[in-house]
C-alpha cells in the first residue's frame, strides 16, 4: 500500500463543509511535497465554493503565497480525487489574483479548466476522499445552487 509510506499511521485531511464531514487520505509517497506543505498548513478555515466551469468539483483556498512545485500531476480528475492547483498573480486573462487552492471532485463530471485562460488545468494529485462521504458530496453539490459555505480542514492520523 503506497499511502502513508514513511509514516507509522495514515494521514488524512478532515473536511467539514457546513457540517458535512469527509476525510481525504493523503498520499505522502506519490506527492510528498504537496502533502507536507498542506499538512503543515492545517488546521485551516476558509470558504468552500463550486467550480465555475470545471464541472462537479469544489475548492477552498490557502493564501496565494502557498507555492508547491508540480508533483504527481494530472488533468484527469475522477470522482473522489483531491488536487492542489496554483495560479500565479496576473497569469490569467482578467483573473489577476493569485490562487492556491485544494479541489475535490464530488462527482464524476469533471473537466478542469482555468478561468481566464480557459485551458486545461493540471493539478497535483495528493489525496483521495475515503470512506462514506455521501453527505459531504451532497453538501458540495449544493454549493452550485446556494453559493459558498464555510469549511474547516483539520488533521487526522490513525
Amino acid at each position: 500500500m503506497r499511502s502513508g509510506v514513511g509514516h507509522k499511521m495514515a494521514r488524512y485531511m478532515v473536511l467539514d463543509l457546513a457540517g458535512a464531514v469527509a476525510r481525504a487520505k493523503m498520499d505522502f509517497e506519490a506527492a510528498p511535497l504537496t502533502c507536507k506543505t498542506i499538512w503543515d498548513l492545517l488546521p485551516h478555515q476558509a470558504e468552500g465554493g463550486h467550480a465555475l466551469q470545471s464541472g462537479t468539483n469544489c475548492a477552498f483556498h490557502f493564501a496565494p503565497s502557498v507555492l508547491i512545485p508540480e508533483e504527481n500531476t494530472t488533468t484527469q480528475l475522477l470522482k473522489g480525487d483531491v488536487v492542489f492547483i496554483h495560479y500565479d498573480p496576473r497569469e490569467r486573462y482578467r483573473n489577476p489574483r493569485g490562487v492556491s487552492e485544494v479541489v475535490w471532485c464530488y462527482d464524476r463530471f469533471n473537466l478542469g479548466r482555468s478561468p481566464g485562460k480557459i485551458h486545461e488545468v493540471v493539478g497535483n494529485w495528493f489525496a483521495r476522499l475515503d470512506g462514506d462521504w455521501s453527505d459531504f458530496a451532497k453538501m458540495s453539490a449544493r454549493l452550485e445552487a446556494e453559493g459558498k459555505k464555510p469549511i474547516k480542514v483539520s488533521r487526522l492520523e490513525e
Binding site: 465554493g49 463550486h50 465555475l52 464524476r108 463530471f109 473537466l111 479548466r113 480557459i118 452550485e144 446556494e146
Partner: protein
Amino acid sequence: MARFLVFKMEGAEARARLFDDLAPETCKLVWAQLPASGPCGHVLLAGTACSVEIDPRAVAPAENQTGLIHPGDVMFTHYPERWRLGFPEAESRIAWAYDRFCQPRVPGRMSPEFPNVFAEFVGDASAFFAACSATFYGGRKPVRIEAFDG
C-alpha cells in the same frame, strides 16, 4: 417591430433583442414560454453564463448554432431524455453569457455544446450582469423573463 426579452433579477433589469430572422423557430418557441421564471444560477460547465430552466418539452431545431459565445449572447439548449450519462432527465434551458469566459459543454456527455443563439442583450446590461455574476458566490436567485414588443 423588434421583439425583446426583459430579464429581471435582484432589482436589475436588462433587455435582449430576439433574432427573429436568424433563429425564427427558437424565438417562436421561447416567446410562447414567456413569462418564464425560476431560480437563476451558473451553468455547471460553461463558465460565465447563467440560465433558467423552462418546460423540458420545449424543443427547437438546430438554428444559428455556435460554440463561440460572446458576452451578451442568449442561448437555447435542449437535452433529450436519456441522452446524457448521469443526467437522464430531459431539459430545456435559456442561458446567457454575462462575461466573456463562456465555453458551453454538455453535462454528462462532457462534449462541446453548440447552443442556438437566438437573442443578444442590448443597451446597458451591466447591473443585471453583475447580479448574474453574484450568484456564483451568493447562490441562485429568482429571475423573471418577460416579453416586450418594442
